[in-house]
Symmetry: C4
Subunit: 273 residues, 4 copies
């Protein structure tokens, strides 16, 4: 039936695409619903608000659960391969956002799992993709993807440093000052090297303070590393982007160097005189 | 009346412009008055100084209020369209700086609102604009304006991360350790991810400490993002600035785009054959 | 004996090299053993786990000690100059990782020295060197080596600043507020200037708070220095890498620009046609 | 008298210059004496060490005072215009390092002023200037000098922000939670915006925590500014150094290296003889 196909297509455009006014409105409305439902979960977690408005919050929560369930079903029926959506990142998150409410029928205390609805906020980026933010997001994510490997090595090195420095601190500092075991000492090392510095565990002996000072200065110096990496990668990316489009007038192949005078594929002159 | 016009014009030059010695002196004097009046409000907020010099502070405050009122009136009468000043940023701030004193006649406790006089310090930038700081300020503000959009996306991502990580922490950590509700946990996540680390709320359970360590390492790594963005934008800006001056061989006017082939002022070819 | 040589060679390849599947497997297995042995030491340091599984941990620890001893001996017998390994960085670390267990026979309490096994984690980098991380690691280490000198000067300046600022704070702040002697005050200055801020020692008097604010603002501003240095050095390195190999066909001197058409030393044509 | 001149000249070379082995040895020896004398002052400030070794410390302190006095006199007599040294930065610091000991004859408690000897550590940079650190130090100081103006504007903006945000916090948060007056609140704002976060004063009310979160996110974002400025200025400096304008006398094209002897475009000699 043609009309069914059409109906399915239009629904798909409404829910999945955002280049039509209706699709845009749907996305904004959905985001608004997500925001509100998270706000409800948040406020419900505050004790005195729970006592006062608990029943109102429960009703609202169920309204949102039903709305999101309908949305989930619509998402399933308007695409050809529903399993693609179900097992996509956003699909899994949407499922996770629904489960806790329904689990509440069978188990007690699962409602606190509703906080995972916060993950649905990731849809914010879909909205941003519409507007003028697209090129900025693309640029940033490309640069971050390129830096991820280097920053992972950096983080691994930092973690190893905290294991070693935390272990040394465990030997140096007294047990009763909070460094009661190695995992605690490593936790302290992470708190210190990242310059967070809660102060829940802090060295008391002179030797411990000396080691702590070393850890702090290390943390203060190596913070330069991820910044240096990312800045460098952003610069590389911008340079590449700038130098790219230079197609041969003869064979129209691209990818020539800026100083190339002849096409490296067909030998034709690249000079525009 | 010509003399009236003249008088208005000279007053305008004195108050709004700063390229004459008198205008400069007025700006410096005004800034000094703002500084002193803020200092008075500050010192008055210190309990034992209030007890000792409270009446002196009140007199000084009224002197400044009268001076600022006169200044406000002068600003109004010496421009042609007073509403433009009234609804400008500086105009609104000037108004806000005046209201609390007068409100004091009718209501009790409004004097603490005088702290908003601190907003008048924004006039400092007017002074700087005079001197040799102009080009630096222009460069920085241009770069910051260009980065604002990207840094907003970054801040939004950080906020979303804190909502998600704070919610996870609310599930993981015990209520009595300070993570009593989700907003509190999000506050903790912001304190931690920005590496501020007050320590007023800090994880106690091993699982909580593990999540906290993850949050810290995230915060420590992503601080690279705004820095990378700004550094990159500064470099782009400097490159553009450098590549711009490409004067027309025919009319020698500058400011052409890099890909311009004809002078946008006289239409002559810009190609260097 | 040829077969002995051959056996020694193959063992060497297995243990020291990682370009064969067996060598790779050995490295991964070794790393896994190191990880597990460190985990055991860590968990054993937790009081209630020690009470519960203390004897299990002891057995595991001895298994790892024996395994690592065998590994150490194998490393010695399969190379021609064993002393080279013994006195290398990794050799010394491997030795340090073994001693505490054997010392346990003679002395009490040496087992806590087992934490130094964490140093063996440095072998992680050997594994990474295998895969696709090689170029990233090379790039980073080259840049860091180049920056080490500048960052040392920076750290020395920071240390000097903390000595001076800590001393000033010792004079300014009361003894009973934690600034009981100059080394303590310097420790406080390091905690503050690196923006760690435990809060175990914090100023109480107005004058002390003023000095502290100055220290914080200094720390907040100069964090730019190591980042600026590293970013700059990364950019320099990337530029050099790009420009390097281009030697003159006539005088074979190098260092020509990418767009050079003639040798800048002897004037010969650089065109490769 | 020639011999007197000669003696004076050699002494000048020994004390002020460092390009002779003797001058180098003098500088290193002096630095060692400064380090030791500061260490003595530091250790003497520790209560239980003062009780134990107080008299030894006093003797050592006097030995150093006499040594430094002799050095100061020698510095005066071996230059032609002694007042130039007396009123130079290092001269004033040297004087400040001497006065407290002598004041100890007349006044009680001046000995704690000896901590200002730490300022003499600035001489460290003289030593570094000798070796291979010269070019790095020059590069860094040139870049920092160029950035000082921009970073001052940044710091001023941060200070103004802390005044405004601190004042707002004073209105928002309860007096008894540590925000007892505006200067205290500004101190808190500096502690927070620089991400130090002692936790000695921290918000308690929901509204206060919200404002604090805003302050933290501002601090976390604007830390990019000084870094961006410095990195940018380092890059500019490096580019300038490289580009010093050098156009070919034959074809007038630019962009030659500093060490180029022939035009890379037309092969003409670039030598200006």
């Amino acid at each position: 039936m043609n009309s069914s196909k059409d109906w399915q297509f239009r629904l798909h455009e409404l829910i999945y695409e955002s280049n039509t006014p209706a699709g845009k409105a749907f996305d904004v409305g959905l985001l608004f619903a997500i925001f509100t439902s998270i706000a409800v979960v948040m406020l419900d977690s505050v004790h005195f608000l729970h006592l006062k408005y608990g029943s109102l919050f429960r009703i609202l929560e169920w309204i949102f659960t039903i709305l999101f369930t309908i949305e989930y079903i619509l998402r399933l029926i308007c695409i050809k391969k529903p399993h693609k959506y179900v097992f996509s990142l956003l699909g899994v998150i949407d499922m996770i956002a629904l489960i806790p409410s329904y689990l509440g029928f069978f188990f007690v205390g699962t409602q606190s799992l509703l906080v995972f609805r916060a993950l649905r906020l990731l849809r914010v980026f879909r909205i941003f993709k519409l507007g003028h933010f697209l090129s900025e997001i693309n640029f940033l994510t490309t640069a971050l993807k390129g830096s991820v490997r280097k920053i992972s090595i950096f983080l691994l090195t930092v973690l190893m440093l905290t294991v070693i420095l935390g272990s040394i601190m465990y030997l140096v500092e007294e047990r009763e000052n909070g460094f009661s075991n190695i995992p605690e000492s490593i936790y302290w090392a992470i708190v210190t090297i990242t310059t967070v510095g809660y102060g829940d565990i802090s060295p008391v002996t002179p030797m411990g303070k000396f080691v702590a000072a070393v850890v702090m200065l290390i943390g203060y110096s190596i913070i330069a590393v991820p910044t240096g990496i990312l800045t460098h990668d952003l610069a590389m990316l911008a340079r590449q982007k700038k130098e790219l489009p230079e197609s041969c007038p003869s064979c129209s192949r691209e990818g020539h160097d800026l100083d190339a005078q002849f096409c490296k594929y067909c030998g034709a002159s690249l000079m525009r005189n």
